[in-house]
């Protein structure tokens, strides 16, 4: 399976790496090789173990078992700076730049060049300029990072990694926030680095990009490597079936629900604050609506404003043709709106409180009498819902933090299902959960739609968008650029609409 090269040619050899987190085996006995001057694509679903593997390589996590060889020398890294010294650089998907500092300061952050005991600013500025020129970026190194567009910030991030002159450079979803032009620019840089003989590991969810740029592609699934082959061997379909390991239709439940176009169950009108543009949409009975587009185009703020959080102004909403007024979450819950938040750990779960306290948090007022909690009723309700969702737990008084990612997400779902929503807004409902839980959540979404709940889903996972939504609205820079229905929901259509600046339907800017 692995390209038959003699070991000497391998710059990086990873063998038998195992890493487990409580409840999940994130990386299971993985072998991986990468040679000089090679761009190695790494693909897989969310939670397949790609990021964990790369974090092990970069010293962020320590493996339970296994070996890392760099230039045939065994290495163990206790932290990132040790990995950096050994020649591993990682460009993260979340940018790690400090916006209020200058480009030069950011590039040499933590690895200051010194003259005597003092930082040598002249040298830092000069060297930053040289590195930026090398990758073809022409900006003033005195400029503040906050003044730069996203794409350029990514370049600065790359420059920061290059200062340590790494032999192995990991790109963890570098294209997630870039437009097509910007991606091409990034690819030029990758090719320059490749010619210099660096080994490049390129992680992306956009399969087309991986096919375009990589020399070799490795597919991961459930913590293991499925296949490693030269890029010529693959096409998009082959990649998808390797990633998923089963047919598309097996993961996503069939879209059998009847949609009654005549009957409106939810409508939203408002003006998006940042873009000052109208963002109106409606939902028909039985429909699952997806909001898609590149990350950070305002989808989350838009959907949060349904729940009474900031994002839009001049909001008018109707549920079952009844006008509702929602200015804060309390009113939202009363009006029958639920919101599954994006960041489970920061916005979804009281990590230090018990499971019972978590699940009943949004509905305590419904099971009380003069402020006293009806404890029997509460326990019954919680027992019911957690059995329905098959949450794995020891006791309801167990502290929430002790559950695994998938179970925590179910906990959030349980909390909000308990409030009997008429409108269910879900932000990234399957982020960081295992495949089994994912399927369960997909089935749940279908079931809700059949029960005539208005389900609105935002997800950055394109396959998910295609698999679960009856209709998809694509958002770019704070307004909708396309309205795709059933057969029209394809990867290509979504991508095209995601990067377009005009509404493809109406042609209006």
């Amino acid at each position: 399976m692995i390209t038959n090269l003699s070991p000497e040619e391998h710059l990086l050899t990873i063998s038998g790496i195992v890493k487990s987190f409580p409840g999940t085996l994130a990386v299971n006995n993985v072998d991986f090789v990468c040679k000089k001057g090679e761009i190695h694509g790494l693909v897989g679903e969310n939670g397949a173990g790609k990021s964990t593997l790369m974090k092990i390589l970069a010293g962020v996590h320590q493996p339970d078992k296994g070996q890392i060889l760099i230039s045939n020398k065994e290495r163990t890294f206790r932290n990132y700076s040790e990995a950096r010294k050994a020649g591993v650089g990682i460009v993260y998907q979340e940018l790690s730049l400090l916006p209020d500092l200058s480009v030069a300061e950011n590039i040499y952050m933590g690895t200051w060049l010194k003259r005597g005991r003092f930082i040598d600013w002249e040298e830092i500025k000069k060297k930053s300029k040289i590195i930026l020129n090398e990758i073809g970026v022409d900006i003033d190194s005195n400029e503040l990072v906050s003044a730069l567009p996203m794409a350029i910030r990514q370049m600065v991030e790359i420059a920061k990694v290059l200062t340590q002159n790494p032999e192995i450079i990991i790109f963890d979803e570098p294209t997630a926030a870039l437009s097509i032009d910007e991606v091409n620019r990034l690819f030029k840089i990758l090719k320059v680095l490749k010619e210099k003989g660096k080994a490049i590991i390129f992680i992306s969810h956009r399969l087309k990009e991986v096919l375009d740029i990589s020399d070799v592609i490795t597919v991961m699934k459930d913590g293991q490597i499925v296949i490693t082959e030269k890029t010529d061997y693959f096409n998009e379909d082959k990649l998808i079936s390797a990633m998923v390991g089963r047919e598309f239709s097996e993961i996503f439940p069939p879209k059998t629900n009847k949609i009654n176009k005549e009957e409106n169950i939810f409508s939203f009108q408002g003006i998006f604050k940042k873009s000052k543009k109208r963002v109106d949409f409606t939902l028909s009975k039985g429909e699952v609506l997806g909001i898609g587009g590149l990350q950070g185009q305002g989808q989350i703020a838009l959907l949060q404003s349904i729940f009474g959080l900031k994002g839009c102004t001049g909001i008018k909403m109707t549920v079952f043709n009844k006008k509702i007024e929602v200015k804060n979450p309390i009113q939202a819950i009363r009006a029958g709106i639920s919101l599954i938040p994006e960041n489970r750990n920061e916005e979804g779960i009281f990590l230090l409180l018990s499971i019972l306290q978590n699940i009943s948090a949004s509905t305590i007022d419904r099971r009380q009498f003069w402020g006293l909690i009806k404890r029997k009723k509460e326990r019954d309700a919680i027992e019911d819902i957690s059995n329905n969702l098959s949450i794995k737990l020891v006791s309801f008084d167990q502290i929430a933090q002790s559950l695994s990612g998938g179970n925590l997400q179910k906990l959030v779902l349980a909390k909000w299902l308990l409030s009997d929503p008429k409108v269910m807004v879900m932000l990234e409902p399957t982020k960081g959960v295992d495949v089994g839980t994912k399927q369960q959540i997909y089935r749940l979404i279908r079931k809700l739609a059949e029960k005539e709940v208005a389900v609105i889903v935002y997800t950055s996972d394109m396959l998910e968008l295609i698999g679960i939504c009856d209709r998809v609205l694509i958002m770019n820079h704070g307004f909708f650029t396309a309205n795709l229905e059933r057969e029209k929901i394809t990867e290509e259509n979504i991508m095209r609409a995601s990067v377009s600046n005009i509404n493809l339907l109406t042609g209006i800017k």
Partner: protein, 340 residues
């Protein structure tokens, strides 16, 4: 049932420590075990227990109340300024006017903190200074008086056996515990302390809860002030000052985490006992007061280690074994929560 067991297990260590210290004290000084000594001791720590209860509520929502000292002083002064001739109406005045004052001051704190969105540390530091000024204006030097029979009733013994302070405290703690565990309001307190954003997005009206929590703190502070007036038979405008930091210390020793959302009131008597008994023993041993200060500080740091770092005051964790390892692993799961 399980919930109860868990809570009880959480409070066992603190009471084990109390018993140990108690026995040590008794061995050093046999008169320590006499009933009178114990009643005395208990009367002495009652005001601090009230202050600790007040602080516990505030700390549970992740706040802090530095005005508790001024609340104790001003209610103490108000109680001793009421007419002291024994009539039912006077007794009611003695009790309710300070209570109302404490509640009002607390509610004002809460209003400023929640509506203004200011840090509680600074707000209560400021209001504390203001109310201390007001107290000194009302009564610049110690003085005042209260009814003798009321004083006897509050600090004496019921049926000549049970110390009244103990009875009052047990009732107060049961009420507090009930509020925290069984009511919607109590649930909201833990939610707010656990994570304010999530609490808000769960439809809990955070500002209302905050205002009332500070209100309760004021009310319990007033209890402390009133009790002090009965015990001392007069008032002192500066009496509350030492309670500011001691109340925080006691709440933390009793197992409430300063980051909020974790802890309760059941350990409070134990926590206060530990805090006081150590000094008592050092006194009995005629050890100089510098060491007493050092001892206080060390106890506080130990308490912080047990509460803030996430280590539970759990017996099984203390004595190692299977549960310890499991607990640690589970804790790690939360920290390392992988993001793939």
């Amino acid at each position: 049932m399980k919930e109860k067991q868990q809570n009880i297990r959480l409070y066992i260590p603190i009471y084990l420590i109390v018993i140990t210290i108690y026995i040590v004290a008794g061995i050093i000084e046999p008169t320590f075990f006499t009933w009178n000594n114990n009643v005395n001791l208990f009367t002495r720590i009652t005001p601090l227990i009230f202050a600790g209860l007040a602080q516990t509520f505030v700390i549970l929502i992740g706040g802090i109340d530095l005005s508790i000292g001024a609340i104790i002083s001003i209610t103490n002064v108000i109680a001793a300024s009421m007419p002291y001739i024994d009539t039912p109406i006077n007794i009611i005045l003695w009790l309710f006017v300070p209570l109302l004052a404490g509640l009002t001051i607390g509610l004002i704190n809460g209003l400023i903190i929640s509506k203004g969105g200011f840090p509680p540390l600074i707000v209560t530091l400021a209001t504390g200074a203001i109310w201390l000024g007001v107290t000194l204006y009302i009564m610049p030097i110690p003085g005042g008086s209260i009814s003798l029979s009321v004083s006897r009733a509050v600090t004496g013994k019921l049926f000549k056996v049970i110390p009244s302070p103990l009875l009052i405290l047990v009732i107060a703690i049961i009420i507090c515990h009930f509020i925290l565990r069984r009511t919607e309001f109590g649930r909201s307190i833990y939610a707010l302390g656990g994570n304010e954003t999530i609490a808000y997005e769960s439809g809990i009206s955070c500002s209302k809860v905050k205002i009332w929590v500070y209100g309760i703190s004021g009310l319990l502070g007033a209890c402390s002030g009133i009790f002090l007036s009965a015990w001392m038979f007069s008032a002192d405008p500066l009496i509350g000052e030492p309670y500011i930091l001691n109340s925080i210390a006691v709440a933390v020793i009793a197992g409430t985490s300063l980051s909020g959302g974790k802890g309760g009131v059941v350990g409070i008597i134990g926590g206060t006992y530990v805090f006081y008994l150590i000094n008592n023993i050092l006194n009995l041993l005629a050890i100089s007061s510098f060491y007493q200060f050092i001892a206080k500080g060390l106890i506080l740091i130990l308490a912080l280690i047990f509460t803030s770092s996430g280590v539970n005051l759990d017996l099984k964790e203390w004595f190692g074994g299977y549960f310890y390892k499991k607990g640690r692993l589970l804790k790690k799961a939360g920290n390392d929560e992988q993001k793939d």
